[in-house]
Symmetry: C2
Subunit: 453 residues, 2 copies
Amino acid sequence: MASGLTKEKIHDLKWAAEARDADKVRALSADLHPEDLAEVVEALQDLEDASFLLSLLPEETFAETLTFLDDTQRDKLLNQLSNREIAEKVLENLASDDATDIIQDLPAERQREILQEIDDTAHAGDIAELLEYDEKTAGAIMAKELVKVPLTASLIQCVREIRRQAEDTDDIYAVYVVDQNDVLKGILPLKKLLLAPTNARLEDIIERDVISVQASESKEKAAELMKKYDLVVLPVVDSMGKLLGRITIDDVVDVIKEEAEKDYALASGLSENVSSADNLAVVARARLPWLLIGLLGGILGSRIIGQYEEQLQIHPEMAFFIPLIAAMGGNAGVQSSAIMVQGLANQTAFHYSLLRRLLREFLTALLTGAVCATALLSYGLIFTDNFSLAITVGVALLTVIIIASVMGTLIPLMLYRFKIDPALATGPFITTSNDILGLFVYFSVGRLMYGTF
Amino acid sequence: MASGLTKEKIHDLKWAAEARDADKVRALSADLHPEDLAEVVEALQDLEDASFLLSLLPEETFAETLTFLDDTQRDKLLNQLSNREIAEKVLENLASDDATDIIQDLPAERQREILQEIDDTAHAGDIAELLEYDEKTAGAIMAKELVKVPLTASLIQCVREIRRQAEDTDDIYAVYVVDQNDVLKGILPLKKLLLAPTNARLEDIIERDVISVQASESKEKAAELMKKYDLVVLPVVDSMGKLLGRITIDDVVDVIKEEAEKDYALASGLSENVSSADNLAVVARARLPWLLIGLLGGILGSRIIGQYEEQLQIHPEMAFFIPLIAAMGGNAGVQSSAIMVQGLANQTAFHYSLLRRLLREFLTALLTGAVCATALLSYGLIFTDNFSLAITVGVALLTVIIIASVMGTLIPLMLYRFKIDPALATGPFITTSNDILGLFVYFSVGRLMYGTF
């Protein structure tokens, strides 16, 4: 049972690479999966050490390890290789989709030079084709390698075709059946091929109800289809139904992960999905936009409070609860938005009409708001002797929670209607507007209360 | 090419079900995937309508459609069926893992009664076994159906075993090879079986380096392994290496999605992953804990400001910028935490030493903080004539951003050390503590500045 990588093994292998101990590196790396090797390579601070380790790997393992490295480090390592080396040692050992990923970020001219060095021109052509797809599309994550047979083929021919492709393609789950124009007509799962009598006709045993995606559709659409229908592999076609390639579930797992990370980044106020390993300027650039929006919101807030300067001078104790009101409005709003954003993502948001959804939101807010306001009021009445202040803060809190919750429900819906990512609404955007709203409500209620009591 | 479900088709089918038009329901539902049918059923408000539609489906489609429904609706529909119906129409038509999911939430006694109604006692035994696993474990998401042969089997026997299992198991990707104690010894991918000469010996062609997971490990561990090594199916073993079942990628896609949604929910201040379709009390319960923490933070904040009441009475204009300082500290802190949380999730956080990470965070905060403080200072100097206030707010802002960023980096790390989900740190928890911190810094800087200028 392969137990994978232990901390000690990473340490030993790192040490052996740093000590330039070729025999030890070879011995320690022999039974490691490329993904594990990539982890070791990423742990090596020095580029020379990483190159040394990689140079000792068998060619195919070397190529696969590169596919698991993070982009920055991989590009640095590629810069140390000649075009010929990249073509022969890396691209020729990889499937078309992985090969495309590897040279994706290189300048177009270098891409062309590298592809010219590939001996297998069909493989080079596949990579060149894949490089043309917009990286947001299903086409960009597909692989060209697949087993394809005409509708007229015999089962023996299917097995022969699998044998021909077997070396290039690790994971064959099905044979694709096409007509004379390469239009996808059906699929034959390997299990069915294995169990069918040898003289069965392809026409009689293929599954014709094939779910496919068009190359120009978004990769999220492909991910959604595979997730929805529990597919392991999804054929990609053009607008005429012609079979172009296939997407495997491992690529889609990455898409799902990326999507989730993007939502999380947006909710946390990062405009790009940055990693702690990125350089400082990139991280700062991702953080600044939302900080500046927050700043603008804060300045607007200061002007609103400024309007109530007189009131504050008479009742300076009102200032005490400014952060509480602002923060609670922000919290309640983000909660409502997050529920809405997830509801939009998995379509449950559409089970109710808009009116009913708002009513539900209003009632939840009333419930949670009442609990919070009561708690706050009790605190105010017990620990302070300022009755007006306690009432003011309590009423303002309830009002702010209700308004923020309803806004938090409406804003993601509006963004969704205008085809903007609703996850934006869970970021500092909504916190900031709720801060301002909260202050306004607080001082309005204050004016009313102090006037009344 | 199956294009799936159109809005019109949902509408027509809904209408036909509501009108009790059996022929139309049958005609419209004939070529729909169970997942699509589940979508239609979820769109039906009335339980009777849903039951009517489901009763017209072929038995197998009916069972599979149930697996795609959300838990609440499914449990309601199950309550309308007798134990015998659940056993015969549902469980007998499903693989062991899906069957287990269906009755998971029923009372133990009803589970037992239902299982006793299943004619296939082996199947009932499998479900009973799976029900025993803690729902957090890999065992809970595995299926018992798999193709297993002894090491001594011939290839013909393998094909025969696949044929025997073929009816129960939709997705067969490989044959598992075990010794006389059922200990997993290797796997034989279908592709290899198809291509090997019929007289080949199993021992010579199986892959022995099998990645597996123990049933008692977490389901996240299983998901991680499959994601890491790009696996479509993962064998599950006990502590002795005995083969117990297998996990397929579609189950793991759900685990990955759940995990991402949990992080997102935490970051948005929801203590449970609630959906907009859940009932009000559940939603309110998920929201209240964080709101109450926010409330507590706000009260603490009010006490801190209270300490500076005198200062506020002399300089009431200081109150104007309270929300700005609080909000910016919160924003910067959450950003740092989010980067750290993602770094911890994908291990990139460990590429640098703690000291270097803090230094990087400090420098990023200095950079972004300086930009924000300069912007604010310029605003203050241009639009107000209060030099002291402008300087105070600018200096406080820079200080708060730096402290909040460093704290935002340290807190997730601390949580991680203590084996608490670091994603907690991106929720209202950190916003609240940064609010308080920010106020403290603001008024301290204010006292210093107004004393100096």
